[in-house]
């Protein structure tokens, strides 16, 4: 029974790749299985394989699947301590360059990009930075660009911000209206949001800092290796790579080209 469903999921992922070019075949399987099953439960179909014809012929149905496959729950200043380390160890290094390019890969709905922008602003470095924020989910990118979030999330975000070493007034960074807030234009002006798929698209060039947290955990080892190579090639010599705190370079050949900047928060400097 279980094995049949595995075959069905294989066929579904293959169909999605051949028809639309979105490649989930090398994603960590347990999470994909969960998401496909939850999508199935909402779809009204009984079996995973029954969804395949619908996916092939109905683009809107496929778009819904993409949304479900790319749910990334994020928050501002998630892992407050990471942002503290950014202030203390990464920004001073970046300040040695007159101008820096930053790639935030897998930015989802943008909460973390704006957190980064706030840190840069407070460290007096925002005007010398350009941030490229990318994701493969177009709906998420559009939301990120708007920078509109639910007001009730701000309480947690503010607490995170304060734990991250932020000492300004957090509410200065957004305007509240009804149940929503909108991020200030001044934080957006150096951010370019773009569609980019880590699995199928190519490198960004001459980056000083690449930030990609909690994305690699969804990939299998081979795909992780592929993406890390992408980051390696995108970075300048001496450039910084920041991963999620549970992610590592351990299984990749690129490990030998990076030195630790902060072991706990998985921040590395390209040294070779």
């Amino acid at each position: 029974m279980q094995q049949v469903q595995d075959i069905e999921i294989d066929l579904l992922l293959e169909a999605v790749f051949l028809r639309y070019g979105y490649d989930f075949r090398q994603y960590a399987r347990a999470s994909v299985t969960r998401r496909v099953k939850s999508f199935l439960a909402k779809s009204g179909f009984k079996k995973v394989s029954e969804m395949i014809p619908q996916l092939l012929y109905d683009e809107l149905f496929f778009e819904k699947l993409v949304q479900d496959m790319s749910i990334t729950v994020t928050e501002m200043f998630r892992d407050a301590e990471f942002f503290k380390v950014l202030r203390e160890k990464v920004i001073p290094h970046l300040k040695t360059y007159p101008f820096v390019k930053i790639w935030h890969a897998g930015c989802a709905t943008g909460e973390e990009v704006y957190s980064l922008a706030i840190v840069l602003q407070e460290e007096g470095f925002y005007d010398r930075a350009t941030i490229f924020a990318t994701d493969f989910n177009q709906v998420a990118i559009d939301k990120a660009r708007q920078g509109v979030y639910r007001l009730d999330r701000m309480k947690d975000f503010t607490a995170n911000y304060q734990r991250s070493g932020g000492s300004w007034s957090f509410s200065e960074y957004y305007h509240a209206r009804y149940d929503s807030v909108i991020i200030n234009q001044s934080l957006k002006r150096n951010i370019t949001f773009a569609h980019h798929n880590l699995v199928t698209d190519t490198v960004f060039s001459e980056m000083h800092f690449v930030l990609c947290r909690n994305v690699l955990i969804y990939f299998d080892k081979a795909l992780q290796d592929h993406v890390l190579k992408l980051f390696y090639e995108s970075l300048i010599h001496g450039g910084i790579l920041a991963l999620g705190s549970k992610e590592s370079l351990k299984f990749s050949w690129v490990e030998k080209y990076f030195k630790d900047v902060d072991e706990k928060w998985k921040i590395f400097r390209k040294a070779g």
């Binding site: 279980q2 960590a28 399987r29 347990a30 999470s31 299985t33 969960r34 998401r35 749910i71 990334t72 729950v73 994020t74 407050a80 909690n214 955990i217 969804y218 080892k221 999620g244 549970k246 992610e247 590592s248 299984f251």
Partner: protein
Amino acid sequence: MENFSQSGLEPNMRLQDRDKIHEQYQSVVIGVSAGGMEALSDLLPPLPVEFSWPIIIVQHLHPTQGDYLAELLCRRCAVKAKEADEKEKIQPGWIYLAPPNYHLLIERDQTFSLSVDEKVNFARPSIDVLFESAVDAYGSGLIGIILTGANHDGAYGLHLIKQCGGLTIVQDPAHAAHPVMPRSALDMTKVDHVLPIPGITRLLIELETATRYGNRAGVKTTLLEKTIL
């Protein structure tokens, strides 16, 4: 072993288990929430160093809590304990804990995956997420345990374990610091055993020892048959 004298484990329960021993359990998953620190500190330290099944635990914690639970268990247990790493191969003789603020999943090749997906049952890590993926990885070779807690996480996961032929154990709600979680597991599933903590420990030791002994006996028999032929 004196401390197990009040375990409430009836002799006829052991007989039922002997029937199941041939199924070759491979792994133990545990879900625990409020009151978990004490429960785990009672359950795990008596396990002998040679206890070979990996034990994989989701304990609900505040997201900012560190990995001190693994350190604590490491100090108190004969079996080694650690926080589960992404892509880590699950090894016999280890206790693994889900890291705070990540879901822990098990892949078919018996490695760990982590995810930051939305909370399930208001929890991340969620017991249901671990149990559901563990069923895919181990099938009927799985032992699922629900301990003290004040929410409903794990009830569905334990139900799946039972459906797939695994062994299901729930802490006796009358003995649990927080009975809600054991009770909601019992509401959903006709489980194999309802026991206080010492009884669960004893059952695990008995089953694991019997399986190991059974394995050795199996090897011996095969060798013997070959010799005769």
